[in-house]
């Protein structure tokens, strides 16, 4: 598939000023070369452009996650680092060296696949030793490093087993050992947890993160699971339709989504459209389409009449007597009791439904009950007409 793109011309394009998004080289200092750097890359499959003008610098030793729905281009970007996909424009550097023309087998990349991709005809030892063998490491050294790697993934003594004799979780551990044993410059993880069952997934999540910290390897992780992304990453890159929507720490992307897409994709935020009716410094009163008015703190002074969306996380909402401000009267449409907390869907008029996830205080409100829902004016984010965060 990628052969067809091999000779694709490097179309000259104007360098976008500044180029890189914030976050990458920030505290690594200007002197240290980023572990991986993309400059304005495009990746096309025939006429379909999977990734468009993507730039990113990844600090050495960091754990970065490409998060997005399927088809957003995250896996394509990962594969382009490995050389499994050719880029149609721009450049990729690994450790400061351009790799556009470096064949896959010379890139020194550790890859972990969703499907484990262990060689079924080779035992665990030969699987893990594979990369070392092709780096001409002497045999006793190979044996030493393989057993060290197996200890690291907590499967010592499994050398003689065949992959088919291992469980899914064990296979993925072996795949991880195989990818890190030759100390690659970057570890690429392509949805490594998706094929595992829920319990295993949680365990592996912790495991991967621990091993990444211990080895200090730069890890690039691809997932569509926001929980995985939030719990494991130093930085999250949220992608949609081949472009970057936002980059930031898990807190940043969760608390201050840059776009409507990010707000919706990460944690299903409530998005309440409305019009600014009056402004008092950084405080703006917004009349919602649902009819009621709320006050929100805006980082920028807004102009009355501007169309905005108020974005509030379900966890930032309170109900009943504990509502601090922005009291909206509504009616419970559905209640999901979760033990310590409950998720309410509340109709605040004009068929606008608000989702609130709150600790239970007193008795649980039932369907059909009238209820107040509200949030702190500082506990929301405002998006402009185009769905971009007002900052």
């Amino acid at each position: 598939m990628h052969e067809s793109l091999e000779t694709s011309a490097q179309t000259p394009r104007p360098e976008t000023a500044g180029g890189l998004p914030a976050g990458a080289a920030r505290d690594g200092g200007q002197l240290e070369k980023p572990a991986v750097e993309f400059r304005n890359i495009d990746i096309a499959y025939g006429k379909f452009v999977a990734v468009r003008n993507f730039s990113l610098a990844i600090r050495k030793g960091s754990f970065i996650t490409l998060l997005g729905p399927s088809g957003c281009g995250k896996t394509t970007i990962l594969r382009s680092i490995a050389g499994l996909v050719d880029i149609s424009a721009g450049q990729i550097s690994i450790g400061g060296k351009r790799v556009d023309d470096v064949p896959i087998y010379k890139r020194n990349i550790g890859l972990v696949f969703q499907s484990y991709a262990l060689f079924p005809h080779k035992n665990v030892f030969d699987n893990v030793a594979f990369g070392l063998k092709y780096r001409n490491v002497p045999k006793p050294e190979i044996a030493r490093r393989v057993s060290k790697a197996l200890e690291m993934v907590r499967l010592p003594g499994s050398e003689k087993k065949l992959p088919s004799q291992l469980s899914g979780g064990q296979q993925q551990r072996i795949a991880l050992a195989r990818a890190i044993v030759f100390e690659p410059e970057v570890l690429l993880l392509d949805e490594p947890l998706s094929a595992l069952d829920a319990n295993m997934r949680e365990e592996m999540r912790v495991e991967i993160k621990k091993i990444q910290k211990e080895t200090g390897i730069t890890a690039i992780f691809v997932t569509h699971d926001q929980e995985e992304a939030l719990s494991m990453s130093d930085q999250i890159v949220v992608m949609d339709a081949g472009t970057m929507e936002q980059i930031g720490s898990p807190e940043q992307v969760y608390e201050t989504p840059a776009t409507a897409f990010v707000a919706d994709f990460l944690g299903k935020a409530n998005m309440l459209p409305g019009v600014v009716s009056s402004v008092d410094g950084h405080k703006a009163t917004i009349t919602l389409s649902a009819g009621q008015a709320v006050t929100a703190v805006s980082p920028k002074v807004l102009t009355p009449g501007a169309r905005v969306s108020v974005v509030v996380r379900p966890q930032k909402l309170s109900v009943g007597a504990s509502v601090p401000a922005n009291k909206l009267a509504g009616r419970v449409v559905s209640t999901s009791y979760l033990g310590g907390s409950a998720i309410y869907e509340i109709d605040i008029g004009e068929r606008t439904i608000i989702r609130a996830n709150t600790p239970i205080d007193g008795k649980v409100a039932r369907e059909g009950e009238a209820i107040n829902v509200g949030f702190d004016p500082a506990g929301c984010v405002l998006l402009d007409e185009k769905g971009l965060r007002i900052a």
């Binding site: 052969e3 896959i104 087998y105 890859l111 696949f113 060689f119 005809h121 990369g131």
Partner: protein, 294 residues
């Protein structure tokens, strides 16, 4: 409904009932004729077309002591093995190509493999006479070009027989190899390459070993079909190039010696059966079934 009372889904009785027609067919049309042949091997040959049911070991004794038969058997195994091996070498490349190509209409390439089956096998075999014969296209061309002044003897040789068998058997080999290649998870190759393999090394480490079952199935199938063939050597070989199948044909149709013919048939059946059994033991029959599109 009332009749199915007491029946469970996956009831063993139901399973037997469903298999019964096939078992009956196999019994009637396969096992029974072979058993009859087996009995015939002990009949006494009187003269052409005449035998008596007086039981005797004479036929088996003749087969076991006469090296004439052993020579034919060895030769048949040799030709079958050679054909199968050449098929494997020649067949792997097209199979690999069809598997690896990015050409969008792969089915067309697979269809091309099936197309020869639309023409009668006998006619396809006859066509070689016009290619290899004294007045065949090769000899005529070489004579016209003045490269030779006498036609080459290509037809009615063992080479011609093997050529004809290759023509007949290659699609079986290619399909078998192709199916086992198709079952390889391609991320394995990406994994190997990311760990430092060139494409050639990845082929040696991953693709080749994982396609061996298909290659093995193809080898067995080609060997059995080649060793059991009789039309091809009949049409393209001389008397010396006859295979065991021709010997059986000649014994039964020429000498009208049914007891001896039955003995030779059982011998070929047992020999090829042993190869198939050994293969099943070590590689599993499922590969062949897969290769046949099952």
């Amino acid at each position: 409904m009332g009749m199915t009372k007491g029946w469970k889904l996956y009831d063993p009785r139901l399973a037997w009932m469903l298999v019964a027609p096939v078992l009956l067919l196999l019994l009637l049309f396969l096992l029974l004729p072979i058993a009859v042949m087996g009995v015939y091997t002990f009949f006494t040959f009187v003269t052409a077309g005449v035998e008596t049911s007086a039981l005797t070991f004479a036929n088996w004794k003749e087969f076991l002591t006469d090296s004439y038969y052993h020579g034919f058997l060895l030769k048949t195994v040799r030709v079958g093995a050679m054909t199968a091996i050449i098929c494997a070498v020649l067949g792997y490349f097209p199979a690999y190509f069809i598997w690896a190509t990015t050409f969008r209409h792969k089915w067309l390439l697979l269809l091309l493999l099936i197309v020869p089956f639309w023409i009668s096998f006998t006619i396809r075999t006859f066509s070689w006479i016009h290619i290899l014969g004294e007045q065949g296209i090769i000899n005529v061309t070489l004579l016209k070009l003045g490269l030779i002044d006498q036609p080459l003897q290509m037809l009615y040789t063992e080479g011609a027989v093997i050529m004809g068998l290759l023509h007949f058997l290659l699609p079986y080999m290619i399909l078998n190899v192709y199916v086992s290649l198709e079952s390889i998870d391609r991320t394995l190759i990406s994994a190997a390459r990311s760990m430092g393999c060139t494409s050639a090394q990845a082929f040696r480490e991953v693709t080749l070993p994982l396609s061996l079952p298909g290659l093995g199935a193809g080898l067995l199938l080609c060997f059995v079909l080649a060793a059991g063939s009789y039309v091809t050597p009949q049409l393209l070989g001389s008397g010396r190039d006859a295979l065991f199948g021709n010997l059986i044909y000649d014994t039964i149709m020429g000498q009208l010696n049914w007891p001896m013919g039955a003995t030779l048939s059982i011998v070929l059946f047992v020999v090829l059966g042993c190869f198939a059994a050994a293969y099943t033991r070590y590689m599993g029959m499922s590969q062949i079934v897969k290769g046949l599109g099952g």
